[in-house]
């Protein structure tokens, strides 16, 4: 019987296999940031252990960094960032600190440097590591104990998850993006639907996505419960990688591409589960609740808790509506927002900024609007195209690179009761600041919303 993409990549990385034990899996690339690593380095020091492969490790500062120029004023954040600097210096790990041209959100810089390649294993103490699966890598988030484990051994003991295919047939209609697709997938299978699985996204609509779009889809695999999401590498992948700083060159490139082309699910392979979705039927999507599975088409209304048959889902919906300050039956396009955020590891890449700029060009925003590039390189690229001027002319704020308003760890937050349209990945209670209310949307919807002050599809402008 044939093998799935996930099985092929997994098998390639098994260091040791024994009955009744998890596989010992080799890790090709370990990304670290300031939040989930300090206790891991402490653990190494406490045990007198070293970093086994510092040259397979890269660090950046992203979660705590302010996105306006100037030093970190929050002393606790400052200590955390300085701790990362000390740890990287002590253990010989490449670090891209604030202000560095290579700095950015950890899941933006790996692909940008060409460090994320097909067939690799990539981990990071961050659940959105699933992003890197867009290249046909097995990439998943880990906790701090596992960060320490990878630092010390470059391996992880892991049980191979089951495999799930999400078959996306048809083509995304004009104005419907990768973000709308993944929000629709999560709404369909739920926040627990992918638990225990590696998801492979397949089908015509996936093949036609750019690498940026594929990263957006894989990024949010974790919001459907799956630690990892993957897409088989193809010409789009190879073209993205060609010429990047750490991509192979010359004969090594040819050898790599020949191998990468074998990284596809065999025709006779069997997935443990298959989910089908028709891309051509999709419209712009938005979340109304406090978990990413609570999403609906933007053209519909806030659902009634009574519409959920399952008592647990009904109770969750009631609680979510109360937290979100929403009334069942309200058309979502009538929901007013205070803040618009375009950025994050989900939608902070150049293509996302272009999508927002296309909407904002020649228009004016009526809400507080933060446009935050995912990395300093994305920032530079956007400025070379003049996108910064488009944003500024529209009245939006053009910021420095960082995680920004995706999570409440830096100065970019919502105040209690404030409502956002956000291109980030989580609408959890308080995620963007205590008491803040988050609607997850695509960059195009976010930009259109900034223009009207209400949740708005670009087509309705």
């Amino acid at each position: 019987m044939g093998r799935t993409l996930a099985e092929k990549v997994w098998e390639q990385h098994v260091v040791r296999r024994a009955d009744g034990e998890p596989d010992l899996l080799y890790i090709d690339l370990h990304l670290i940031h300031e939040v989930t690593s300090p206790q891991a380095f402490d653990g190494l020091r406490f045990s007198g252990r070293n970093v086994r492969r510092p040259e397979l490790t890269i660090a950046t500062e992203d979660h705590n960094v302010p996105t306006v120029l100037g030093p970190i004023t929050d002393l606790v954040s400052k200590t955390q960032v300085e701790t990362l600097r000390k740890n990287c210096a002590e253990f010989g790990i490449r670090l891209h600190p604030m202000g560095d041209a290579g700095q950015g959100v950890v899941h933006i810089i790996g692909p940008q440097f060409g460090l994320t390649q097909p067939g690799m294993t990539v981990v990071c103490g961050d659940s959105h590591t699933s992003t890197h699966g867009a290249f046909g890598a097995i990439a998943f988030g880990i906790g701090t104990s596992e960060v320490e484990h990878v630092l010390a051994t470059q391996t992880l003991p892991s049980y191979r998850p089951k495999t799930m295919a999400i078959e996306v047939s048809g083509e995304l209609p004009v104005g419907v993006t990768a973000k709308d697709l993944i929000l629709a997938i999560i709404a369909k299978i739920g926040t627990g639907g992918g638990q225990g699985y590696i998801v492979e996204y397949r089908g015509e609509a996936i093949r036609k996505l750019s690498m940026e779009g594929r990263m957006t889809v894989c990024n949010m695999s974790i919001e459907a419960g799956a630690r990892a999401g993957m897409i088989a590498p193809d010409e789009t992948t190879f073209e993205y990688l060609r010429g990047r700083a750490h991509a192979p060159e010359g004969a090594a490139w040819d050898e790599a591409v020949a191998y990468w082309k074998t990284l596809r699910t065999d025709d006779d392979a069997v997935f443990d589960q298959v989910v089908e979705i028709d891309a051509s039927a999709l419209t712009p999507f938005v979340t109304w609740g406090t978990n990413p599975g609570q999403g609906v088409p933007l053209g519909s209304a806030v659902p009634s808790p009574d519409s959920f048959a399952d008592p647990i889902e009904r109770a969750a919906a009631e609680r979510a509506l109360e937290y979100m300050g929403l009334t069942a039956g309200t058309p979502l396009v009538e929901v007013e927002v205070d803040t618009v955020f375009v950025g994050s590891c989900t939608n902070g890449r150049i293509e996302d900024l272009r999508a927002a700029a296309d909407i904002l060009r020649g228009r004016t925003v009526v809400t507080r609007t933060l446009i935050v590039p995912g990395s300093m390189q994305v920032k530079k690229a956007a400025e070379a195209e003049g996108l910064d001027e488009v944003f500024k002319a529209a009245g939006a704020e053009w910021r420095q690179a960082g995680c920004s308003m995706c999570l409440g760890m830096n100065p970019d937050t919502l105040k209690p009761g404030e409502r956002s349209a956000s291109t980030s990945n989580r609408n959890f209670e308080g995620r963007q600041g205590k008491g803040g209310r988050t609607h997850l949307v695509s960059p195009a919807v976010a930009a259109a919303t900034a223009v009207t002050g209400k949740l708005t599809a670009p087509a309705d402008l």
Binding site: L56, N64, I142, S145
Partner: protein, 195 residues
């Protein structure tokens, strides 16, 4: 890691689903660089509500958390496990867990126990009817017991053994240092380095 064999204590029912790790420990608490003090941040936002179950004095000192499904979804922050442990919890019982949270728990000796949803409901009801009910989470027998009930749960042999012995994962892996070196010698030559 603390060894876990069997634990008996009182339980607290958390009747919510999708308890994400941002609720268990909000992001502002993640700025600490130490491993201690996270109990103060446990469910920090929810604890501001006087009606939140952890604020009910009858559950004070409870060591087993019995939650709705999909406990520990979202962020990979192991701080969620530290916060639960430092607050005093030894085990969490739910019908489903977020994969990363569940993994992190077993690295730290906090036992995540998956029970069928109807059994979780039965246990929550029992505890709500009598908060003094003692619950035994028995890893040796793979069983949760309370009142006259005994419900089995599944956990793989390896994780169970590691938890019962309180073994350090890194120490176990380093026994296979030769295997790791052999693997490294055979890696594809084009694979990137960060230097």
């Amino acid at each position: 890691m603390d060894a876990f064999t069997t634990h008996t204590g009182r339980a607290v029912p958390l009747r919510r689903s999708n308890v994400d790790t941002d609720q268990i420990i909000p992001a502002v608490w993640l700025k600490q660089v130490s491993r201690t003090g996270f109990e103060r941040g446990l469910f920090a936002a929810w604890r501001e509500d006087p009606d939140f179950v952890l604020n009910n004095p009858v559950y004070e000192g409870a060591t087993v958390l019995v939650s709705g499904p999909d406990f520990g979804t979202g962020s990979s922050r192991e701080h969620a496990v530290w916060a639960l442990q430092q607050y005093g919890f030894r085990a969490v019982i739910a019908a489903r867990f977020g994969d990363i949270f569940r993994n992190n728990s077993t690295k730290m000796g906090l036992l995540p126990v998956v029970l069928p949803a109807d059994k979780v409901e039965a246990l929550q009801k029992a505890v709500e009817a009598d908060p003094a009910v003692e619950v035994t989470v028995d890893l040796v027998e793979r069983q949760v017991r309370w009142g006259g009930e005994a419900v089995g749960f599944e956990i793989d042999d390896y994780t169970r053994w590691r938890l019962m012995e309180g073994l350090d994962d890194i120490g176990l892996t380093l026994r296979h240092g030769d295997d790791i070196t052999a693997y490294e010698n055979g890696r594809q030559t084009w694979l990137p380095t960060t230097v």
